[in-house]
Amino acid sequence: MMVAMPLGRSVPARVAFGAWRFATAPSWTRRIGLIGIVAITLLAILAPLASPYDPTALNTGLGLTPPSLAHPFGTDQLGRDVFARVLYGARIDLQIGAIGVAIPLVIGVIVGLIAGYYGGWLDVLIGRVIDIVVAFPFFVLVIAIVAMLGPGLVNFYIAVSLVSWVAYARIVRGETLVAKRREYVLTARSLGYRDARIMFRHILPNVVAPTFVFGMSDFVLDILAGASLGFFGLGVPTPTPEWGVMIAEGRNFIITAPWVVIFPGLAIIVVGFFFSLLGDSLADQVRRVDPR
């Protein structure tokens, strides 16, 4: 994806260029994925416009009404409009995915670059740390850290950042090991460029593509983890709507009012679907460009 670009342009320019090429490539999977994600993001941002209801407004008289024209997804046990809550919940869950990927990605890429580029004892040390963190099941370690730090979104982000970076570091380290033997790196070194410059201006753009691919599925996994935590009461405090929390709250009424549980779940599945499609099309492109 990034290999054909001229060496001189800056990193942000290259990333933007790559993103543009990516977004406009002809591929149905990609189009559907992108359109879906953009649509959901817009709905989330424009939630106040999309739904006239206040997601936290109690209206116990209207509790547990089935889906209707007035309430497309019905109402929950406290009379809140489920559609509005799903939309506002999207804000939280999309944020969970985005931050849950962004921070570990940055950390992991930096660590991976350093480990791959310098090699030696530093690489061995980082490799060991990665091996150790990877031995823990992701969700178990995240929930253990959140248990210690206390519930809440910020602590969730801290936990995810502490655990997720290893996957990205591994990817980037492997790619860096290969990249540092390539001609463009040898050229840069012979020209006397500083290490940091070589790593970040030259190697980085060429190794970062697989991390974006992984980031797509990581996005989905983070939402699932976040929703699971919300389900167990370790996420955002009520009455803030979050899909996992909504499912937990609606659990008791599932027999009489299944819509309270079904729609938030469907929302998670739909977001997961679009991101997976996008990830797949990105993976195809990365694979096609990669001469290996």
Binding site: R128, D131, P137, V140, F231, I254, I268, F275, S276
Partner: protein
Amino acid sequence: MIRYLAGRLVQIVPVLFGVSVIVFLLVRLIPGDPAISILGSRATPELVARVRDQLDLDLPLWQQYLNYLGNALRGDFGVSFFYQTDVSSLAAARIPLTLLLIGYSSLLALVFAVPFATLAAIRRGGVVDQAIRLVFTMSLGLPSFWLAIILSLVLGVRLRVFPISGAGTGGLDTIWHLTLPAVAIALSISPILVRSLRSSLIEVLGSDYVITGQAAGLRRSTLLWSYLLRNSLLPLVTILSINVGWLIGGTVIVEQIFGLPGLGSLLITSITTRDYAIIQIVTLILAVLVIAVNLLTDLSYAALDPRVSLQR
């Protein structure tokens, strides 16, 4: 084989140490005074002092770790404040059920995923393949807790086919009780299994030796078994091994929902009671489980692939 096993065990030791360090450090993440946090509303100055003494909180960090390690190697992982017994016996009692559930879910996941993946790979590019890929891409985002709830509603409550809580009375009854949870876990992990397995199978199908076999006019059954399946076992084992972490994560969630007395539900209930000793030991056990699965996988490579020499 023994030499190889010994070699791998030696390699594992540093990882085990590292895991114990992380588990040890977990409690030190607690903001403020861990003792106060543990005691919660029961905190009195004497109790706080006693807890601080028990946890060696006034000692330097490395000494705390050495004490922790020393105790751990003797099987003493601390006492649960909630249950008032030592956590190692608490946790040990729950291991069998969790292992059973993990094994059961893996089996169901395989039974479900392998046929679909094989079908998709053999009919690559066709309608069947596209449909399978679509369905399993859609279900990548399927939350296991949501699926568990819906399954227990439909199959447990509405249709009354399966029980929805508890572990039953042992033997077949336990298996019966574990079926719905295992199905929930298996279904939530099968999308990733089907997708990975399909890729591996396509790779095997495109191998040169498969074409040699076809060119020699081998019977379909021979090609399927000796060429396709036998060469897919290795990738299958690898895929399972990579995803064991997710399997365990799903198990933890599902145990809680179905009220199964396993390690997972112990972990989750201990969060609300702030029973940190339990959280530590369960995390440790599950990490060791992952390491053990990886080791078993490595050993199985030797059995599955004649090119893998154990003399390394």
